[in-house]
Every structure is written in C-alpha cells, then in structure tokens.
Symmetry: C2
Subunit: 138 residues, 2 copies
DNA sequence: CTAGTTGCAAAGAGTTTGCATGGCG
DNA sequence: CGCCATGCAAACTCTTTGCAACTAG
C-alpha cells in the first residue's frame, strides 16, 4: 500500500520540525534539495498527508503558493489566521475564544466555517502605531 | 485619470446585473465576447474595481478561478461575510456577537480587523445537508 | 518479483505583462 | 494631441501528469 522511502521520511521529519511555521511545497523541496528530494515528490506526498489529515493545507491568497503545516492529526488544532494588509505579516491565531466564534456561527447562522480557508484581514498593532509608513502589500 | 470606455461600461453593467451570483473573470469575458471585450481588459478592470471597493474578489479554491461580485461600494461596512465554498452563496452577517470578535481580537491580539475585507469561508447549512455528493476532500 | 515511488520534463490553468494600436477627453 | 485603455500573444507561477527507471517489502 505504502512504502517507507528515504524521501518521505525526510519530508515528514522536516514538516514536523517546522510544525509552527507555514511551509510551501517549494520551500520544503528547497530545504531538502541537498538530500535529493524532488519537488514532484513533495507535492505528491503532501497530498497524501493531507488525505490522512496529518497535514493541513492553507490557501492564504490566490496565485500564491499554498501553505502546509503538520497537524499531527489532532482535530482541535485548527486555528485562524490574521493577515496584516499593511505589512503582509501573517499571524497564526490559536485561541480558545476564536473557537466560540465558529461555534456561534454554526449554531446561530447555520454555517460551518472552514478555518483553513478563512483569513482575517486587517491592520496589525505595529502597523497601526506607525500609520505613516508607505508599505503597501500589493 | 480614468476613461469611460465601451468595454468598461459593458463589464460594469454585466456584473451589476449579476450581483447575486459569483462570476469568474473568464465567464465575464465569455459573456461579453460577442461585444468584443478582451479577457485582459476584464482582468485589468476588475482589479481596478476591487481597488475602488466596488467589486469583491473571492478565492473559493486554489488553482481555480477567482470569483468576483459587485458590492456597490458602501452598505457592507460593519458586518462580516460568509461565503459558501460549495454553492458560492454570499451571506451578509449582521450580528452583535460578531462585533465582539473584532473587539476581542483587537484587545487580546492587538489586531484591527477590516470587516470589509474579511470573508469567512465555509459550508452553508443547505449544502451541508446534501452531503450526498461524492467525496470532495480535495 | 511486483506494485508503489521517484523525478525529469512537459503540460495545464489562471493570471499578468510587453507592446503596438486605438480611443477618450 | 496626450495619455490612458485595449488586446493579442507570450511570459509567469504554481501545480499536475506522463513515463521510464528505481526500490521497498
């Protein structure tokens, strides 16, 4: 059914080590290119890991690469994202309170939020302070 | 700064008429191809309309086309939007509880949400019921 | 041995860009 | 007339696929 290959071990190890950051397929392939892991393999294996719910795929913006993150299969590990419209910074928001939002919307508004697709856009604290910078995230 | 051209009038007219459905750049170009409107023009004009907040752009799934919808500019300022990933329906969510979300994130996470930019993606109640369709865990 | 796996290269899809032409004001 | 807009085709990016060689069990 499934073989245990050198490449797969390396990929899995890498995303586990970087479970706190967002990795693109490209960045993974890049990080492992010294180990002779092909990009195609990364894509294909990530797809499998997603199917097994060991990895979550995030689509944060169109046209750009998708992000992947090791989730260990634990369901309650989903979180929301905040994206600063000014500096482009992406904040991973793991917060109990936020789960209430999803629960509320589900209960009151009959809608199941997909946290892997949803991004809150706004202005981060740092940018709010220096509201004169000309940094435009285009 | 901006000219009033035949193509732009046609595009704007078309998306206004279809303000209740989700349109792809391609479908707009297709609908107007009899009127000699180029796809490039559609893309470029949609981008401008988004900048002016007359049109909203939605990313429903990666790799697939983005969707565009006429929003009329104002009205939608202090409430959130839910967009169904399955049927594409856009739900305007006016709810006091949701304002708490913004307040919470502002207070606890030092981030000011821009509700006019933020869209919650997920599955609406109707689509959730008819889960008879095949596996779509993509 | 044999089916799953790899990886190059090429195909694809959606979107953007270069550039010469066309048209608004 | 100046400048923005148009549109074709080519470029680009991210991802997927075809296919022959490879390898784990």
């Amino acid at each position: 059914m499934s073989y245990n290959t050198r490449q797969r071990e390396l990929i899995l190890e890498y995303i586990k080590e970087n479970a706190d950051s967002h990795l693109t397929a490209d960045s993974i392939a890049d990080a492992l290119k010294a180990e002779q892991v092909g990009k195609t393999t990364v894509y294909r294996y990530l797809e499998k890991l997603c199917e097994q719910h060991l990895v979550r795929k995030y689509i944060l913006s169109e046209g750009k690469s998708a992000c992947y993150q090791y989730s260990g299969g634990e369901e309650c590990h989903d979180h929301f994202h905040l994206k600063c419209l000014k500096c482009g910074k992406l904040i991973h928001l793991e917060c109990e309170h936020l789960k209430d939002i999803a629960a509320h919307i589900s209960a009151e508004h009959d809608f199941t939020i997909d946290s892997s697709r949803t991004v809150f856009y706004g202005i981060c604290g740092e940018c709010a302070k220096q509201h004169d910078t000309k940094n435009d995230t285009k």
